[in-house]
Symmetry: C2
Subunit: 265 residues, 2 copies
């Protein structure tokens, strides 16, 4: 039996999902959160569907040890490649990052839509398929933007290098799209540089939207917590420069971190 | 009992080690090679020493199934973080990428030495310590160059983005060093752009040197094979764009690839 005081479980391939946790903390300040980041095997976005599925199953199994009341796949690569496997295997409701993106796109009322993400996210066509169901006359333009991830991790989100990479990835979308889905946890960190280049295009951040959807869902199910919130962060490795990067992503001090090295065999 | 016809085992965190295999094939065309690339968990260079050690032990255990006569750690991150653990645990001779780099540096007769590599390689100070033993009056300048890896994997080794990143990482070394050690498997792919910026600086590629050292060692031990060579490539995942990247790194067609997904649990 799920209780309202049970935590929300959030997982990601690494620490990028902290940008989603940040939105959940803002929208649902009384909820407890257990985060798992698979930092020993990050990134997922260049890997095969089979490997992504296998890792995602292990990530969910880890979170299930903590009596979570709901799970959020903060990883866009998992959300677009492994949800069938996860939902087939586990009974707990699992929120992904595709539906929130689709919902936000639909609300704009626009039909010329751009999507950027990792190779695995773009190749899956998960966003494309769901947007076409909701916006039947949509014109969709997609582009993998793999270098945005290391740029965000290196803190190079402004300046000439970032501008050149943004231009290279987005020049073919510019002028064609009215809305651009930032389809990877790392991309909101490059938002200002992307906005400067894309000018009046509406940027969609599924991480912001998922927090609202969670709130609705928990309210409807009578599962909203009245606090106090507790936060735990589990990682399969403490990567180099972790403190610095993690706090940049979460937007606040990171405390209560545990490494679970024995979990990965 | 090791036989001359036994293969050479080479492992790496991913497919970067194919740049080392390429040099071994060139120098020792009659030798058989078994390659293992841990593409499911790549990269290692941003991860902790403990995780690198753990993964490296598993990589060697995998190669030992094939009766290899010798092992090469083509991964500079492993070579600078995990050799004590590997040599303490396994009896087989394991070549690393530090000694060949040190040997090549020493031969130049220069004393102002630059070293670039992943965070893990630079933070280990492995090159620095060994160079100081061999070149006691060396002046050593080091710099992590993490964005070189995704640039090489994306094929962005020439052009404005590559030039800007090279400038950013190397501007403080320029004018100070006479020799620059390319301390990561991926960096030789950026050699031309690095050379253009660093001008008359001597670039050291440990992968070239290790092939010569292997030849010497096998000759001395009576273990040189007279062929015919057989090549097998084992990977823990078939990553996206693998064919394209792998062949760019190896410099020839990649055949005989097997995935060993069950190995990683």
């Amino acid at each position: 039996m799920r209780k309202s005081t049970d935590p929300i479980g959030v997982f990601d391939s690494g620490i990028g999902g902290l940008t989603v946790v940040r939105e959940i903390m803002r929208e649902l300040p009384d909820e407890s959160i257990i985060y798992f980041g698979d930092t020993a095997r990050v990134p997922y976005g260049t890997k095969s569907k089979e490997t992504i599925e296998k890792f995602a199953v292990e990530d969910v199994e880890f979170l299930l040890k903590f009596n979570v009341k709901i799970i959020v796949s903060a990883c866009f690569t998992v959300s677009s490649n492994a949800m069938d496997v996860l939902r087939g295997k586990f009974n707990i409701p699992i929120f992904d990052m595709i539906e929130p993106g689709v919902r936000a796109v639909k609300r704009t009322g626009k039909r010329r839509i751009g999507i950027i993400g990792t190779y695995a996210t773009i190749e899956s066509r998960a966003y494309e398929k769901r947007i076409r169901e909701e916006v039947p006359d949509a014109e969709i333009f997609t582009r993998p933007a793999p270098l945005f991830v290391p740029l965000a991790e290196e803190g190079k989100t402004r300046g000439k290098i970032a501008e050149l990479v943004v231009e290279e990835y987005l020049k073919e979308l510019k002028g064609r799209v009215e809305v651009l889905v930032l389809g990877c946890t790392h991309y909101p960190l490059l938002k200002e540089t992307i906005k400067d280049f894309m000018e009046e295009v509406i940027l969609v951040e599924p991480g912001k939207e998922v927090a609202g959807m969670l709130k609705e869902y928990l309210g409807k199910e009578g599962l909203l917590s009245s606090g106090p919130p507790r936060y735990s962060f589990y990682l399969s490795d403490i990567p180099r420069k972790f403190g610095e990067i993690g706090e940049r992503f979460l937007g606040r001090k990171l405390e209560g971190i545990r490494v679970v090295r024995e979990w990965i065999t």
